[in-house]
């Protein structure tokens, strides 16, 4: 663990363009993956990748917030900022997972829910609220892993889970440090200072009992250096699935409720 990094260093790492994205994790963690599309109301949001995957022969519903790796991809992926239809696609597939008793794994990596005229017209707030509400009652185990940026309500709509883990240099915050600095000090350049105050690092959030586990990263996390990380994540997921395999549906729901009730 390299922990002479400041919170602001971690913010920059969490957002780094070379950092692996959801689809990288999906292809390396799972034996197979079949992507499913659409919210059945309006459209298909490319900022969310979702489908059914195999993990040690077990079916898992996997849903990730998807950033791009260059400008062109980011235009397609809307920089990982979901629109209401992205949240509704996620909810549709989570309910499907519930029906077929598949555990759910969510990958969080977004600057925040998309902010724009159409997003408001189509009910961005309602879509997020609905996810929080319905996720709280799903009878299958839900695991969220913050792999990069966990931006506010747009991340939380993928985070009402039995366990929430964070990669060592990922962040999870109620507001961006830039936003915070420009409000408090009317100076967005003070974001580094804000990053410290906000307690947005994995270590801070473990201490605050907001998350359950930190997964160590290699010194420079890229697509080429992630194999050891993948081995760790796979072994942790295996243990997670084992932990919840013997727990009743009622207990799965009740323990998730208590997790947030105590916050």
């Amino acid at each position: 663990m390299i922990d002479n990094l400041t919170p602001w260093d971690k913010v920059k790492l969490a957002r780094h363009i070379n950092r692996p994205t959801s689809s990288d994790y999906i292809s390396k963690i799972f034996d197979s993956f079949i992507e499913l599309h659409g919210d059945r109301y309006y459209g298909d949001d490319n900022a969310v990748v979702a489908g059914i995957a195999k993990f040690n022969n077990q079916n898992i519903t996997v849903i990730g917030q998807q950033k791009g790796k260059n400008l062109k991809e980011n235009k397609k992926r809307n920089y990982g900022m979901p629109r209401p239809e992205g949240y509704r696609k996620a909810l549709r597939l989570m309910k499907q997972a519930n029906k077929f008793k598949r555990p759910i794994i969510l990958l969080v990596d977004t600057p925040g829910a998309f902010c724009g005229i159409e997003a408001e017209e189509r009910g961005q707030g309602e879509a997020i609220a609905r996810n929080l509400y319905e996720m709280s009652d799903l009878q299958v185990p839900i695991l969220s892993i913050v792999i990069g940026e966990g931006g506010s309500g747009g991340a939380l709509a993928f985070g009402v889970s039995n366990e929430v883990w964070m990669l060592e240099n990922s962040i999870y915050s109620v507001i961006s440090p830039e936003g915070f600095a420009s409000i408090i000090w009317k100076d967005g350049k003070k974001a580094p200072e804000a990053a410290g105050l906000l307690k947005l690092t994995a270590h801070d959030l473990l201490e605050l009992n907001i998350i359950d586990k930190i997964i160590e990263e290699p010194e420079e996390l890229t697509l080429d250096s992630m194999d050891d990380l993948i081995t760790i994540i796979k072994s942790e997921i295996e243990q997670f699935l084992e932990r919840y395999a013997s727990i009743s549906e009622n207990e799965i729901v009740a323990s998730r409720y208590e997790r947030f009730r105590s916050m």
Partner: protein, 282 residues
Amino acid sequence: MNGDNFMLKDLFKKSSSTPSKIIKESQIPDGLFQKCLKCNDILYSEDLVENYYVCPNCNNHIRVNPRERLSMVLDEGSFMELNREIDIADPIGFPGYKEKVRHIKSVTNLNEAVITGRGKINGTDVAIGVMASNFLMGSMGKVVGEKITGLIEYATDCRLPLIIFSCSGGARMQEGMVSLMQMAKTSAALKRHDKEGLLYISVLTDPTTGGVMASFAMLGDIIIAEPGALIGFAGPRVIEQTIGQKLPEGFQRSEFLLEHGFIDKIVKRNQMKKILSILIKS
């Protein structure tokens, strides 16, 4: 960049959240007259109180404090407050935050940005919560989340219909991620209330934005709004900055949400008690 920023911005604009910006006591002694800041009409204070703080000239629904709101919808003397005192939470040790909350408590005479309790509407028992826009912009931190969740659980246990009047700038960022978690906590409690077959009416008042809008405010079996209220996930200024253009007139107002299918009904303040009374008996 993301929607929650705006609400937090508003939280620090000391004047924008309070009714004093919309209605200001005039220079005339004794505060007998007030000025509507929407149409500039000079109004007789006594008339205004009688008219539910709605400007008779332009229908501006002026923001009211939660105690006045309770008296407008509940039967006289029926209110019983729950969880009145909860200790100030300062989960991330934000510099100066506790002092600020203490100060606001003393100047507003409120304990937090919400009052919760039980009362009667035309004889029918309800669990009711009313948010206060003049308490740190009605932002939701741990205490607000705790009071609202406590109210919902009380309603579930006592099998009561639930009514929440929202007005909020969103999550309270001085409490960091703990404030965000209140969205999940309140929404999960509502799901349990729902599963017991109980009614939840959400009433949106000016303004309802950010993390409150994206949680319990949008989860009513029936969602009512006061006329002209600002209701949205992202704040209008943040959207304008993001897209680099002016927003259309009426964007994110109650009438806009009605048109887009996100609320059931717009109800004027002087009709609110009557409509709520019909709905809770339906």
